[in-house]
């Protein structure tokens, strides 16, 4: 019978990955203890997973993770589901129109490229808003929920999948998107600034910026040292988010400049 042996180096990478599920202080103490005891490989992985599971189970006995799941993760899951669905609906139509009908004759016409150039900023903006929404939701949950983060993550993904598959009731869509559905019915689509772009701009300018500001304010000074990988990752993601916001905003203004009233 062949015995599968996983190389120790790979196991140590898994240990490092698994230890990221722990709080920074726990990770520091546990990794130090393992290094001092000379435990590595499979035994170290078992030790880390043992503590991770115990911590997660212990966090389920507290009220806070369940409260945050109900008040934060589930509403955010519904909101992201609505945004992603509408982004997919809007972008899918444009992309399908241009890719499915594409041929060499069409590519030679100036109108094709002009129409494509007109729709691309909108697709780009809605895609950027979706990316920013997802980043903001993930970072918000990660910042507020320290213990029991996995419960919120699983809750968010479950809601996303269920709401994405089964759909969201119209009333809930209206509340979550702040009357966006009404904007659609009241505003004719031929207007240069459509409700979609108005919403996206509002989100990028206000909501996402507020989320980033909140996360900056709530960051604990003791966690600012670079010894903890999670903090540097948050910083990195925030930088990417900031770059996306500024880029998306400039695209929006560019789009407004060319098609503005």
């Amino acid at each position: 019978m062949t015995r599968w042996v996983i190389p120790r180096s790979i196991l140590n990478i898994w240990v490092a990955r698994a230890s990221r599920m722990l709080e920074p202080e726990d990770r520091e103490a546990l990794c130090g203890d393992l290094a001092e005891s000379g435990v590595s490989g499979f035994d170290a992985l078992c030790d880390v997973m043992d503590l991770v599971i115990r911590r997660q189970v212990a966090s389920l006995r507290e009220v806070r993770p369940w409260l945050l799941l109900t008040l934060l993760a589930i509403p955010l899951g519904f909101l992201l589901s609505v945004i992603s669905r509408e982004t997919a609906d809007g972008s899918a139509i444009y992309l399908w129109l241009y890719t499915d009908n594409w041929n060499l004759d069409l590519a030679r016409t100036l109108g094709y490229w002009r129409a494509l150039a007109e729709c691309l900023p909108s697709v780009y903006l809605s895609g950027s808003a979706l990316v920013c929404s997802s980043l903001a939701a993930g970072l918000l949950i990660g910042t507020i929920v320290r213990r029991g983060r996995w419960l919120s993550t699983v809750g968010l993904i479950t809601v996303l999948l269920c709401a994405g598959t089964l759909g969201v009731p119209h009333e809930l869509r209206f509340i979550l998107t702040l009357g966006r559905a009404r904007d659609y019915s009241e505003m004719p689509l031929c207007l240069p600034i459509r409700s979609t772009e108005r919403y996206i701009h509002k989100f990028l300018r206000c909501s996402f910026a507020c989320c980033l500001l909140f996360m900056e304010q709530t960051r604990h000074p003791s966690r600012a040292s670079s010894t903890h990988g999670s903090v540097s990752n948050v910083d990195r993601i925030r930088d990417i988010g900031g770059a996306l916001v500024s880029q998306s905003s400039s695209w929006w203004f560019l789009h407004l400049g060319t098609n503005g009233p």
Partner: protein, 103 residues
């Protein structure tokens, strides 16, 4: 009253004094019981003891043999010492005039 494993940790921490931290307590417990001590059980029990006010913990200094990682230092509080002493007396009372023998 504290539990059996809690008592083992309290007595190991008390014996180690200022050198009481995760890995050292684990070694002491393993030597005393001659059984493997799970690091997960150790840290969750330490949390429980801390919540009960029986121990105090804080992050200590990092050392090269720990790969530059900090230690989680442990100190038994007065209440912790009283609880451990109470557990010990209870065990002694319960074991009075009992001879387990070496069967």
């Amino acid at each position: 009253m504290v539990g059996e494993f809690e008592y083992l940790i309290l007595s190991a921490a008390a014996r180690l004094g200022d050198d009481a931290y995760g890995a050292a307590i684990r070694r002491e417990v393993e030597e005393a019981t001659r059984r493997r001590c799970s690091i997960g059980a150790l840290y969750t029990t330490l949390d429980r003891l801390q919540n009960k006010g029986l121990v105090e913990t804080w992050m200590g200094e990092a050392t090269p043999q720990r790969g530059g990682r900090a230690k989680r230092m442990v100190r038994v509080t007065k209440k912790g010492a009283q609880e451990a002493s109470s557990f010990y007396r209870a065990i002694m009372r319960a074991s009075r005039s009992v001879s387990w023998g070496m069967q």
